[in-house]
Every structure is written in structure tokens, then in C-alpha cells.
Subunit: 249 residues, 2 copies
Amino acid sequence: MSQKRTTPLEAPSIEKHHCTVDVRLEKLGMVQFFRGLDRETLQQISKKFSASHFTAGQPIYYEGEKATLLRVVVFGAVKLIRQTEDGKEILVDMLKPGEYFGSLNEMGEDNYTETAVAQSDACILSIGNREFRSVLNAHPSVAVAVLDVTTKKLNSAREQIHHLATLSVEKRIAHILKELCAKFGEESKVGMLLQLPLSRKDLADMAGTSTETASRIMSRFQQDGLITTGRQWVAIKDYNALSEIISGN
Amino acid sequence: MSQKRTTPLEAPSIEKHHCTVDVRLEKLGMVQFFRGLDRETLQQISKKFSASHFTAGQPIYYEGEKATLLRVVVFGAVKLIRQTEDGKEILVDMLKPGEYFGSLNEMGEDNYTETAVAQSDACILSIGNREFRSVLNAHPSVAVAVLDVTTKKLNSAREQIHHLATLSVEKRIAHILKELCAKFGEESKVGMLLQLPLSRKDLADMAGTSTETASRIMSRFQQDGLITTGRQWVAIKDYNALSEIISGN
DNA sequence: GCACTTCTTTGATCCAGCTCATTTTAGTAC
DNA sequence: GTACTAAAATGAGCTGGATCAAAGAAGTGC
């Protein structure tokens, strides 16, 4: 860690992170759908979760495996991907702390429909889906909140479908950059820096295109001064210009 | 209605359908997420719904309008579409009786994210989303059931994303036919007939392709004996062959 | 039966983006 | 600084589908 780092990305700091009971409690309180629960209830629920750590690139579970756990990102980023037999891959979601993933099906009857991979070093809390179900049934407000989150995900999945079907690759990538900026962007000297490792392949998998095409488009964006980018990192310099690309011709 | 009909599709029979209180109750009981409620509770809830009829092709609401109602299909089919300014259209979902659509957002703060159109003559029940929220909060089992339905929709939306990004148009259409067959198929003399009006354009909008390409592919499928098709209707003759197309090369 | 509308088919052309192949570069380790 | 590695860029050629254009059914109303 004492190396000369040139990436603008924040140094991985998982060491600093300890999932003590207190930290865990605090983190769970930040999760969208646990907001508004009183401290005691939260504490009870918190006991049912257990924490685990993953290093960047490490798979958390695989598509097709028996789905038994619901998980929550506490630290780091997690990507959800789907693969074809012939190695093609697409990235369906990129999660940040506070988001849930995995299974919430009735009693582990089903299998995971996607593979989850730690995009950076990450800390994950998990709970058996049976237990989570009982939480949902005991606390309707939580169930409704989870429903809201899921509905939003559904809407954005449908938006992505719309984009895949109607927009050029350039517009799709511009759009993805904007979304990532809103979600992972942090002010920095090089512009709004996306605080997660992000390769051309990741971008390509999000946009449903080839790595080469993604690369070409990113090069063009950089030349035109819309972004600054290096190996595995991207910073947005001109957000408005991206918007124009999307609406333009 | 006494015309010489040549379509194999069932004659529209909305006239036969009257949304009396009893019928309504019965229908609501069939809705996925109301199952398991006792008769009395259901009756109470039922009172909060009101019924309306739409004729084939009639819009139910438009994308961007203020979202105030949650609706349930009781009779007929409803399609959800998204449009681009330049008239391109994509079909994100095709609903059958028992499915819900519209808004379930907190107190009508949001707008509809898609346009809903009656695909055939249809009867729809609707409830204010505020009221529906209170139902959810009062009956956790319903909230959890709605969550399950929504999670399934999310999974299939992501599958569609995967398909758009990785499969050829031919495979996508084969897949769509299979799914429609499972959902709307009915045994008939011409094979599994899809019991809903379905144009080439609808198919194209589902597959994210042009009407012409959809038409070409359907012609090929018919020549190869996989389907029988006419104006606005499709019947699947060889389900297995469709599967082979999807997995094949 | 005839006219009219709307859906479907088919043909011909063109280009965005994929593929394959290779070079360049950023970032890391020593 | 030097060496090494994996990511990114770039070039060239090919093709699946889009687009444009026009002819051919199917269904409806009179």
C-alpha cells in the first residue's frame, strides 16, 4: 500500500473496515429499507446477519447455484452479471453500499439468476432468505420499502431494454456514464471521478457491445474533452456534453 | 359480431363480461397476490376497486402522466410500451388477467414510466395507489406476494436485456414465441394458438427489431413448419424446434 | 361482390458495429 | 530506472439487420 499509486481511485481500504457489531448496526441502519425502524428492532434484525469479506474480482455466488441468502453491500461495489455458454457476458447491475442482492425467494426454492462478483474489495452482510421473509412478514413497512426498491430496479431494467433496442452504442455509453456518475461520482481534481474500478470490458458489458467498440467510443469522448480516463478509471469532465450526445443526432 | 370471421382467435366477448360485484370479487381472488386472503377481507378490499372497460387498441394511460392508480387486468390483454420521440416503440410487457400494472409508488408522487394499451378488449380494475399502500401495510402477506411478482418481472426483464445484448434476432423471436406460448397458448386445431391479437410490429417491438425483419423471420419459421400464422395471430406447431433454434448455432 | 384499409411480405441497398489481429500504453513490482 | 503484465487503442474487412420502396394478402363495411 505504500507504493507510488498513480490511479486517482481511492486506495482500497478494506483493512480499515471492521464489521463489528456496532459498525454492522450502523450500516444496516443506512440500508434503504431498514430506515425508520427503531433502534431496538434494528438490533434484533442485525443479529441475524453475518458478515463476510471479498477481494476485488472474487465471485460471491454463481448463476444457477441454489439461492439461499439475501445479501447487503456494506462496503465496496458488487457487480451482477449474466453469461452465455460462449463466454459472452453482460452486466445487469452495479451495486453500492446499502443495496441488496441475492435471493429473496420463498425458502430457497430457486436458483440465483445471475453471478455476483466483488468489483472492488467488499464487505457483505447476509441473511438466510427464510429468516428475511419472517422479517418482511413481521414488519410490513420493510416489505413495502423492499418493494419500492425492487420496483425502481424494474423500471431501470426496462429503461435499459429500451436503450438497447433503440439507441446507438455511443448514446448508450453516454447514458451509462451519466448514471454511474450519479451513483459513484465523487468530486476530484480530474472531474467527477467514478469511485470504482471500471474497465472497458465492464463498460462494454453494460452497454451490450464489444470491448473494442467501447474503447473506441471512450477514446473519442476523451479527445472531445468529455471525460478523463485511464486504466480502470473514468472521470466525467463535461456532464452536459454527455446529455447532448444522448439527445443529439 | 355476426360477420364471417376467419381468424382462429376467439371472438371478442366483452359483452358477455359484466363486472358485477360478484364477478369482481371472484376475479380479484384469482389475482396472484390476493390469494390466501379470507373471503371477508377480500370483500372489503374489493370495494376499493372500480372497474372500467377498454376496447382493443385503446390507451389506458400514457408514459409521463401523473401516476395515481394501480390496476389489475381482469379480462383481455394489456401491453406496456415505451416510445422514443422519433416514433420508435418497444414493448416491455404483455399482461394477462390476474397481473397488475400502473403505479404503486408512494402517494402518486411519480409519473408512469410506460404507456399502457389494451391489446384486446379488456376489463380493468383500479385502485388509488394510496389506498393500495394501506392494503399492503395492513396485510404483509399481500406485500410480500406483490414483491415476489415484481422480483419475477425484474428477473425476466434482465433476461431480456441479456438476450438483446447477446442473441441474434432469430433467437430472440424464437424465445419470445416460446414465452408467449407458455402464457397465452391454447390448444387448437392449428397448434398452440396464442390467444391474443399479435401483429408483426408487436413482435418486432418485443424483440427490439424492425417489422420487416420480424416478418422475414416469421415467414421462415412458417416455411420450416414451426408455426402457423396469419394476420394478427400465431400458432406454435413445433415447440421443440423453437428450442433448438435458441440453443443452436 | 366490390372497394378500401391495414397488415404482411419481399427485394435491394447500405452502414454501425463485430471480429480478428496487432501495437501501444498505464500501472505495478523490483 | 527497468522489466513485466494486463488493459486499452487502433486498423481493416465483413455481415446482420436497418432502411427505403413497393407489391401482395386479409379482413371489414357497404
